[in-house]
């Protein structure tokens, strides 16, 4: 009995160590070269901007239905209105958005690296990558979609002002990055 337990424990610890090693590699890769850092931060900044802009999804829908409202001034002012509102509510939420944005940058950079190393002709490979590219490109379209489908009300009853889901999202991001590991390791034996 105890032998089995020790065996399971050893296996579990080994898996955990392997996972954490892979996660470190996945997180390290985008910061090893200036070009990768630029790409990661660039994607991160764009993601952060859209995350904040989508804080009022129906506000965005309003101007998308009436494109004459969209100006650089509007984009700047809407961002500031949303940012200051969220900041006033909780600095932590701003920080979570920032972390999420950077993780999106990491995922995109790693994905591009994998794309460059893989046989793109493989349907399975592309099928695995495209959803990620789509989702990351529209990383915060969730509220807008929820609003369209009228299910945002359900989210409002979630505890901690949806903070639980925010943390969950970041945790899930880290899990999958850890499972993916170093993007270079899969192409060359």
């Amino acid at each position: 009995m105890s032998v089995d337990f020790d065996s399971y424990r050893q296996t579990g610890l080994k898996e955990l160590r392997s996972f954490s090693d892979e996660l470190v590699l996945a997180l390290r890769y985008p910061f090893e070269r200036i070009s990768r850092v630029a790409l990661t931060l660039g994607v991160g900044v764009v993601t952060f901007y859209f995350l904040i802009l989508f804080a009022q999804p129906q506000g965005l829908m309003t101007v998308l239905r009436n494109p004459e409202f969209i100006t650089l001034t509007w984009l700047e002012q809407m961002f500031m209105i949303n940012f200051t509102t969220i900041y006033h509510e909780s600095v932590l939420i701003v920080a979570i958005n920032g972390i999420y944005a950077i993780l999106t940058g990491v995922a995109i950079t790693n994905m591009i690296a994998q794309l460059r190393m893989m046989q793109v002709g493989s349907v399975a490979n592309v099928g695995g990558i495209l959803p990620g590219l789509f989702a990351a490109g529209c990383a915060s379209c969730g509220p807008g979609l929820y609003a369209i489908f009228g299910i945002t009300g359900a989210m409002s009853v979630l505890p901690f002002q949806q903070s639980l889901l925010r943390f969950g999202g970041i945790a899930l991001f880290l899990v999958f990055l850890g499972l993916s590991g170093d993007p270079r390791s899969c192409s060359i034996d």
Partner: protein, 294 residues
């Protein structure tokens, strides 16, 4: 060297799926929520330009006239008046029904004239964080530039959707407006402003009935016992009125607060539903379009 197709595929699927899943979850990162659905989306005209710019002037009737090539609005800018600090909008007691079919008798109206060119119907919820934000931003610009200039009036309507305390606050607002509208309508603004200033997360003690009453007690001139009595005696009637107000907003396509519809009285043209704490530039563009397409 050997390409490990299987491993590669697995990693790609993992990576792609992960980002897709997180992308969906990201929707929760900064979303404000709403519990309603609605339908219509009235069309609008398509003119551009901004009132008061170099490219425009006004004729004798006060209508904006294009005089040169116009560009898209870039407001607030130097030509727009800054919001008052602290904001103290002028109130008028309305009567009858507007051309947009909204009864004015029981609703606070921010106006400096009885005959503005434009009505702005504003649906809010006292527990909505972006409604509070709008009070400190866009509303100030609207009052300084359009209400004070007698171009527009703002009709304040209720759209409680953040929980039970939202309805309680809306009912108290109705009771308070009834009490103070004839003698000192500014008392309503003081209470209204105080409620937003005390805003925290929805459904917490700051928005309870006792807290809302306490804000009233702290303002000289408000008869808090009478307000309490109104809450007990007239709550059902006021709730019915408020539900009708909200339903009207939903019928117009308002799905999120703050929500707005701008109505041009001469042409009877309306804007599309404007939702969220929009910057002043959105209102200025729409008001200008409605007035020039009339």
């Amino acid at each position: 060297m050997k390409f490990e197709a299987q491993s590669s595929t697995r990693r790609a699927v993992l990576s792609g799926t992960s980002t897709a899943l997180i992308g969906i979850l990201a929707g929760c990162l900064s979303g404000d929520t709403d519990k309603t659905q609605a339908t219509t989306d009235p069309a609008t005209g398509g003119g551009t330009g901004r009132p008061g710019s170099d490219a425009t002037t006004t004729d004798s009737s006060g209508t904006y006239v294009q005089t040169a090539e116009q560009t898209g609005p870039t407001v607030p800018n130097d030509e727009d008046k800054e919001p008052e600090e602290p904001l103290s909008p002028p109130f008028r007691v309305g009567s009858g029904t507007t051309g947009y079919d909204i009864a004015l008798d029981n609703n606070p109206v921010i106006s400096a004239t009885d005959d503005p060119a434009v009505d702005i119907y504003m649906w809010t919820d006292y527990q909505c964080r972006f409604c509070r934000k709008f009070e400190g931003n866009g509303l100030g610009y609207l009052v300084a530039n359009d209400v004070r200039e007698k171009v527009a009036r703002i009709v304040m309507l209720n759209y409680p959707h953040k929980g039970g305390n939202s309805m309680t606050a809306a009912v108290m607002a109705k009771c308070l407006w009834e009490q103070v509208k004839d003698d000192d309508p500014q008392l309503f603004w003081e209470w209204h402003h105080t409620v937003f200033n005390n805003q925290q997360l929805p459904e917490q003690s700051w928005s309870s009935r006792s807290s809302l009453l306490q804000y009233a007690r702290n303002i000289n001139g408000i008869d808090a016992p009478s307000l309490d009595q109104c809450m007990q005696a007239n709550r059902t009637d006021h709730e019915e009125t408020i539900r009708a107000e909200k339903q009207r907003g939903m019928d117009e396509g308002i799905k999120e607060t703050p929500g707005f519809v701008i109505y041009h009285r001469d042409s009877e043209a309306t804007s599309p539903p404007l939702m969220a704490a929009q910057p002043y530039t959105t209102f200025e563009t729409q008001i200008y379009q409605l007035r020039n397409n009339a």
